[in-house]
Structure formats: structure tokens, C-alpha cells
Symmetry: C2
Subunit: 376 residues, 2 copies
Amino acid sequence: MSNDVRAAWRPRPGTPIDGVATPALVVDLDAMERNIARMADYARERGLRLRPHAKTHKSGEVARRQMAAGAVGVCVQKLSEAEALAAAGIEDLYISNEVVDRVKLARVAALAGRVRLAIAVDSMPGIERLAAAVAAAGSEIDVYVEVDVGQGRCGAAPPAAGALAQQVVAHPGLRFAGLQAYHGKAQHLRSPTEREAAIRHAADLARAAQASITSAGIACPLVTGAGTGSFPFEAASGVWGELQAGSYVFMDRDYADNDPPAHAPRFEHALFVKSQVMSRGVAHAVVDAGHKAHAVDSGMPRVHGRDLGFANGGDEHGVLTARGDALPELGETIWLIPGHCDPTVNLHDHYVVVRGGLERGVVEAVWPVDARGCLV
Amino acid sequence: MSNDVRAAWRPRPGTPIDGVATPALVVDLDAMERNIARMADYARERGLRLRPHAKTHKSGEVARRQMAAGAVGVCVQKLSEAEALAAAGIEDLYISNEVVDRVKLARVAALAGRVRLAIAVDSMPGIERLAAAVAAAGSEIDVYVEVDVGQGRCGAAPPAAGALAQQVVAHPGLRFAGLQAYHGKAQHLRSPTEREAAIRHAADLARAAQASITSAGIACPLVTGAGTGSFPFEAASGVWGELQAGSYVFMDRDYADNDPPAHAPRFEHALFVKSQVMSRGVAHAVVDAGHKAHAVDSGMPRVHGRDLGFANGGDEHGVLTARGDALPELGETIWLIPGHCDPTVNLHDHYVVVRGGLERGVVEAVWPVDARGCLV
């Protein structure tokens, strides 16, 4: 029944943008299409594979558009995300993350029987459990050995990559596919010089892992990784053969706060939270979108098109203050550029997809966030 | 189809707790029942009404249990939350927040024809629009005038309360019900002395608002407000007649970090995120629950039952470090006490409700988070 409530608030295609109830997660479709084309062109011109991270958008529709523009498939971070996107029709999926639970691995193996599936590993027990599950299901799966190239999170030490790859190739259902080498912490170093240095170090570690694998007598087909903040450096390194950037499709405030490097494509903000002024004080205005409507793990959203301050007002409110522009009045629409697009998308059931810009656009479609809440 | 994916991961009642896939939102039902009883007893003993805030739990089942223990109804923060809880069978709802959009107000007025409904107002245009909607629908609604008692967010200045109340009583469909006076910022002042001082100031402002109303010749039936961090002070003030605390039902890490006042009921942690170690480094372990599984707006979760550090590992990971206890091994279960329960609940589709504790408990039920994602 509560599902009916959420469905009742979905705008119909053809609705003018003013008629979209707030808060709403709005995609500027023209801007998103330009972002998808720019990244696809960039990878194609350099002979690199593009496998965008779908943890950003969790949407079969967006994944399909990325693949139509040239992406080989998409990454996801969780098994249930892969299941949800497979259910939405996406047939080439890479779980760029470790799964060690046996119940989950049985489902990984089952999914590998239905779509082209890849997964990351970083431990001997993880490989053994995956191999057992795949053998039981009679399926096959591509396996990337994850190495820690500076993130300090998952991934084996680079010199251990050879032994892990040997363990992978020992199992007939596991196809060794290469290295997962992603440096998440490099993404938000503000200066391109810092990001370049971090990726240079990551490249050295990835090369050490490649050497460990080849000296074990195994070919390393691919190194995959990179994000929206760093991909020009991975692309230039000669080490990575596949780019996993995800946020470029929407561009959040945090990525836009990076100083861009020279000679890299620029991406536009394509994801917004539409909000409304629902209370007006003397020196502040309150909008109806708090951190249940936009994620604040990477800081506050930016107000789009107006010079106003935004302070956290709790779960359901944001507090605006005047800066270069005067305070808006009760009932006015305020567009927010989320601080971090991935967890913001995960707060919403659907995208309101608008053609013709935010000022006078019209709802062209409503897309479900297919893998929203898919945490397992 | 993706709904089927999420449904497939719901554990069946009778599942031992070890069989619950991670990450999962788990309610310790015994602890929750004690929390509900303690707060109900507290209010009853003092002759105060209790209307717990359902923005914490967004659940018809939890609301029903609170009302069975004596609560007069529940608060919500958004219209669509009210609609979802009404659909889940809750028939006494207070939207303790302003709504100024005409399309939404038409739905507020329609809902007021189906359940006992109340709403807050803080502006003349807001009252006029509400009155027009209620008149068009032929329904009636309880109206609280919100005053700002220190939060600096919504709410009129206390001396303006009388004029707003006059405007309310001028409309036959609007029943003036009293004052909304909630001081959110007082909730997380760590020392009880600071919280007491903040609520003493809030009480002075609420009295000023009452005086403004009575000098306009209008009776003020009730002052409603208070949260889990401050309610003993509102209760002792003689000003508030109704308590709106919500988080007490689950108790998050942030509220538990408050130094408690003397002579106040203590609440237990009843909400946890079950996670699993999915990668193990030399000096850290990684669990499969990041800020898509628990909200970080009020800081990091605390590891339950073990002395381990927790650092943010991004959307889908948490990074554990050894402190008093050694690092857990690959595959071990780690229980997290969320930093902030309200937005954490909003990330999950269902509660896994466990009887018998976290060590050896059994799933007694799975409850939907009825109003998850109800932002409008």
C-alpha cells in the first residue's frame, strides 16, 4: 500500500517541470546525454574499454544508454545490484568488490549462469569459496584479483597478486581476467598535480602486481579501475586498459570542486534535487529537502543558479542564507546540486527525467532507480 | 523485477540470526519493547500526552505498538509519510511541519477526510492556502502554530503567534490545536546542564507565544514538542503537554553519546546494522556496510560489543581497526550501532526483527519500512 503512495507522487510524462512535487530527483537529460557521449568518445579515441560504475545510477535505463554509446558493460558494487540490473535487462556486469558469504556466492554463481558476470577477489578463502559455488552451479565467471593501489581498503598487496592469480587459474570455472586497481582516495584530491602523483604511485603498484602475475607464468589480460576524478591519469599511464568512472554521468558538487586537469573532458551537472521554500524567516529561508533527500557524506549541496548559502537543516530541511543573491520567497523552487551523487540517488525511488532544461523543461520519462537499496 | 530482488533477500521468520544476509537492518525486539514501555510509563506518570515521532521508524507496526502502549498517535514530517502510515492503518497523524504547495495541500485536505490529521503552520500564506484546500475538500484539520524556540529553522517569532492563531480560527475547517515548539539543536548538546538551559530558554519563548495567543482572546489548548535528548526538561517545565520524542525507540550512537540527566529513563540500543568482514588486511578489516547502509550525518557508527575503531570506507564499506579487541577475521559478523537512526532506517526496505538477542536470536518477523523514501 505504501508503494502506491510513492507511485502516486510520480509525475506523468508531459508534466511541465513546475508541476513536479518536491523534493524530487531530477535528471537534466540533455546534459546527461552530453556527459555519456563525452566519456564514450574519450575512451574510444584512446583505445580504452569503458565500463562505467553503475553504483552511481543503479539504473538499467542509464546503463543501456552508456552501453549504446560504447561501454562494454557496467560495474556494480554489490551482488543484489547485479541481480537488480540483470532483472532490468543488463547482461554484462562486473561486481568490482569481494563477496565471501557462501549463501551469496551461490547466488553469484547462479547469476553467472544467466549473464556475463565478473567479480573481484582478494583472498585465498574468497577464491576457494567462489570456486566451490561456481563448481556447484556449473557456471563460469570472470575473476579480477584486486590489489590495493593506495586506497587502504580492500585488495591484496601487489606482490601477492601472482599467488592469488595462480589460485584462480587452478579452478576451471574461474576465468582469470586481470587486476582490479582502483584508488578511491585519489578521486577527491583537489589539485590535478596531487591526483596525478597518486595515480603515478598506483600505476607503480599495479605494475608490481602485473609482474608478480607474469612471473607466476600467467598472462594478465587487463587492468581495470579509475574514477571520475582521476581517469585522465590512468588513461595516460599505459597500465589501465579499462576505465570504471561512474559519477561523470551526473557530476556532483564534490567532483566539480576538483580543479580539472588540462586536456580532459568536462562534465556538466545533470542531477539535481528540486526543492521548495516552505518556511521563510527574516534572515533565512527553509527548503523541504534535507539529508533524507540528498546525501551529505561529501558535504552540503550547492544551490544551482543562485548565490545562496546552504546549511544542513536535518533530515527534511535545508537552511538558505543570502549571499550574492537575495533570499527566495515562500513557495519558490530551489535547485540543489547534491554533494555526492551515488548515495543521493540511492535515497530516491525514481528519476524525474526532464528534456529542455530546468527552467522550462518538460518531464520526458520517469525511470525507476532499479537497484535502490540493494545493499546485499 | 528489482522489487523481486529485494524481496528475495528478506529472511523468513524462524531464520536464525546467523542466516540473515548482510548488510541488514536488525531490530532487537526485546530491547525495543522495553524502550516503548519506558517512555509510555514516563509520560503516563506525569500526565503528559505522548505522540512519538514516526520519522524515526516510518513503520505502521512500530507506530501501532507505541499507540497500544499509550501514545495518542504519531508525528510525521512529510505528507507522503502521513499517507503511507495511513495506508498502513494508523489513524491519528500529525504532520509537525509546514506544507505550502497547493497540490500537496489538496492531498493534505483529502487525507484529513480519512484520518484524524493535524499539521503545523508558520505563515499567513500557508494558513490561507491550507484553509482553501480544506474548504474545497470539505474536511477539517487540527492546526498547530509553529514558533521558533531556538532551532533557527521553521516557525514564527513567538510574538507573532497570536496573529497566526487568529488567522487559523477565522477559518471553519481549521481547528486551532496549540503550539508546535521543538528545539532540535538542544537535542545533542552533550551535557544535561546545557540541554536544560536551552529548554529553559525555549520554555520562555513558548510562554511568550502562549501569551500572544491568549491576549488575542484565543485559548491555547496544548504545547507540543520535545525530543529524545531533552524531553525530561520539557516535561518538568509545565509548559509542554505533549512529548514528540522519536529516537528513544531505537537509540542511536549519537543520542547515547549525550551525558544523561539524573532521574530520566534510560533507553537501550535496539537498532543495529548487521555486517560482515569481507576483506582483511594486515592492520585493518573491511565490512560490507558503508554509508548506503547507515547514515553518517551524525558521525560514524559504533561497533557493538567489541572495542574496534570504525572509519568511513565509502558507500559500501567500513574500515575496522584494532583497539582493545583484536581485528576480526574474514567472514565474521560485526554489529554496528548507527550514528543516526532516522536516516539509517530510511536506507532500508525492511526491518529484520529478532527475538532473543543478537547472539543467538531468531527472526520473529520482517516489517516493511512503510514510509521509506516518502520525501514529498
